[in-house]
Point group: C2
Chain length 482, copies 2
Amino acid sequence: MSDAGDLIHPVILCGGSGTRLWPASRESFPKQFIPLAEPGRSSFQATAARLSDPATFARPAVITANDARFLVAEQLAQGGVEADILLEPCRRDSAPAVAVAALHAASHDPQALVLILPADHAIGDDAAFGEAARAARAGARAGHIMTLGIAPTHPSTAYGYIQPGSPLPGAAGGSGARTVARFLEKPDATRAAGLIGEGALWNGGYFLFRADVMLDELETHAPAVLAAARAALATAVRDLDFVRLGVEAFGQAPQISIDYAVMERTERAGVLPVGFPWSDIGTWGALWDIAARDGDGNALRGRVALRGTRNSLVHSTGEILTTVVGLDDVVVVTTDDAVLVASREAAGEVKGLVEGLRRRGEPEADAHRLMYRPWGSYQRIDIGARFQVKRITVKPGGRLSLQKHYHRAEHWVVVRGTAEVTVDGVVRLVHENEAAYLPIGCVHRLVNPGKIPLELIEVQVGSYTGEDDIIRIEDVYGREGG
Amino acid sequence: MSDAGDLIHPVILCGGSGTRLWPASRESFPKQFIPLAEPGRSSFQATAARLSDPATFARPAVITANDARFLVAEQLAQGGVEADILLEPCRRDSAPAVAVAALHAASHDPQALVLILPADHAIGDDAAFGEAARAARAGARAGHIMTLGIAPTHPSTAYGYIQPGSPLPGAAGGSGARTVARFLEKPDATRAAGLIGEGALWNGGYFLFRADVMLDELETHAPAVLAAARAALATAVRDLDFVRLGVEAFGQAPQISIDYAVMERTERAGVLPVGFPWSDIGTWGALWDIAARDGDGNALRGRVALRGTRNSLVHSTGEILTTVVGLDDVVVVTTDDAVLVASREAAGEVKGLVEGLRRRGEPEADAHRLMYRPWGSYQRIDIGARFQVKRITVKPGGRLSLQKHYHRAEHWVVVRGTAEVTVDGVVRLVHENEAAYLPIGCVHRLVNPGKIPLELIEVQVGSYTGEDDIIRIEDVYGREGG
């Protein structure tokens, strides 16, 4: 073996918006950013942390939705991870993202080894994952598009399967890598059991390849995807720490997965069977499957009390005290503004539930009460006919836009830290237990000039308190006016 | 019949603190005050409204716990009902309350007809209830302590039973009134079915009697109860619209129910069988039994969305969106700070759950976030390490106590109405969208001098924001300092 110097360039695909884990996961805060499988760390953070061995992995790249950029930056910073962040202006499934990943890596080294990783999976053994990535390298170096084929633990109907073929030419002898006989879409339960009997593996969505190989295959099987990705990178704009892909060009890309676009068509696919514990955390039931459970089979999180309840997942993610009495095999998830109660078996129907909520116009279908912003976050804590109250947290150094409102005045009471408040050109410091008044129409800005987070209570009073009554005059984070 | 002029003096026992309907019902806001069986009206209000026929019922009296007095007054006022309100300084079960009721009525007319009513029951037919009360009058006038015996609808193990005896001497011929052969405590299911086969009736806790008869029986069977009640009335203090029973005297009363103290011992008991729909709303399951249900058998209230769910009770009492997927026969109750999920069958175990929460010191076991006060109400909307935010509502004319705090400053922002704010002797008006600052230690008072409710947001900042840091200097509602 002579591939010790072959660094792998990981690219984390972080553009998903899973509603199947509602109400924790929402359009405005999708599941990969939420601490689900472990307390205190999201699956995106766990994925990034899995790439920390500098002898195996180069600096990672993250491809994410434009709306999620500050969340990505914040969660990377929390984990002390540096990465290139490429922003998709719209959703186009995985093929365009993989094309961008291959082009991005090829710009430095046409034969760079690229590893595509989903951001929203749980893996039970980081060391085994690293070993698998290293073991798949030889096949990729030899010109194969390597997938990780996960050993099935049950006849799942939620995953695609891979049927391995003959030993892979050029791959490391002992790795067990094989050619791919076939990719199979999600089967029914009987077929799934049969597939497992035949030695089929789960398709986890991990791909390791040489950039030039993937570009060749895209050229052959999905030229429109490749052309759009190329144009999107050529027209990309660097903005703060982000690379914004060209809006118009990326929008031209067909919406298609890399499985359909390339993997099911290429003759260069290889698969490395792996045995580490894995889940795509596709439903609350799947999370219960992999979660740490107590002696009654319960997976609990937050302020929870149970009585006569077994084999259930109960997550209280906010302040709410959540209790369950005399029920088995249920999922109960409470947030500050929404509650889900489901049988574990029916947890897959949550997606349909959320679609129904969206049709009814329920704001909780997509929006969280806690909203992340580049400068920090805010949370509505009360609302009435002519007022709204928010708790606003500004990071040290954070600067809100210079702005004004047509329909509301605001009262700010600082409850922690120090604020620098600008009102119509006059700048002053407002300390803990001091207040500032912002009359309707005044041009104002809020900055945290200090070393600790600034927290303040904002009381808005006026005939309209919607988010769209923010007229931005200047913004260090490059957000559009209005 | 010559009893047309015999007005019945109703006395509503309103001292309960049912935890079995947690989290809606709590020590600080017990179930009789919550709209449960009907939206918008509590069982206490429904009970008072049931007594509105002036040809049958005299002005009612209410016996309640001291802590619930403003809630009682407020709910009576909402229903336009005037009543005497007698305050128990501590809980002593029903016998002392019945003794007070009999003494209170006897002070005007020793032979007054007194009807004892629980405040926390649902009755499906108010006219039938009035007819039953009138039909029971003859027996009471003849010297019997009449109970209403409710026709059982199922072999309940949650109720006591009454075995009727021979036709009641002196009662109206056609009424069906009987002597009582036996009072029976809550039976097991087999025994309950047997009792129903033998013609036994449920003991609903309604008693109609001549004041002098009940006083005689108390003298015979429970002299200590009667003595304590007599002393408590003799040392009572009239305070605003309330009659405060003497603290020391009432505290001497044995804690015993009227069933044990008198009914199971007296030879003067009579029972009138009645057929109206009735429930003591003892559990969420009992509420589902009597609730209006949709085609899927679901009883729903508030912001609720269901999918594949049947025969369930789902109440969302706050702002929270509550969803249930793929479950039958469950109870889900959400409030702004606590959630209960239970099987309908196990709903009776909620009492045990709440006891466990109390032992764990969970504040939600007993306290609601929305707290009623004589001047209005307040609700915590946010809390942090060194701050707390409340929404305060003051009724027109409401006056908070003159007070000060040792550990916190307060910022008030008026979001509706007008406040009269006194700070260290200086009085000023604060209008909508204006703010007032109350430094630590200042002596202050808040009054609503206007014609519409005053709403304000209070931001407390300081090292301690507990309710016990309120030093009352003067209070129009007669509340104690500290």
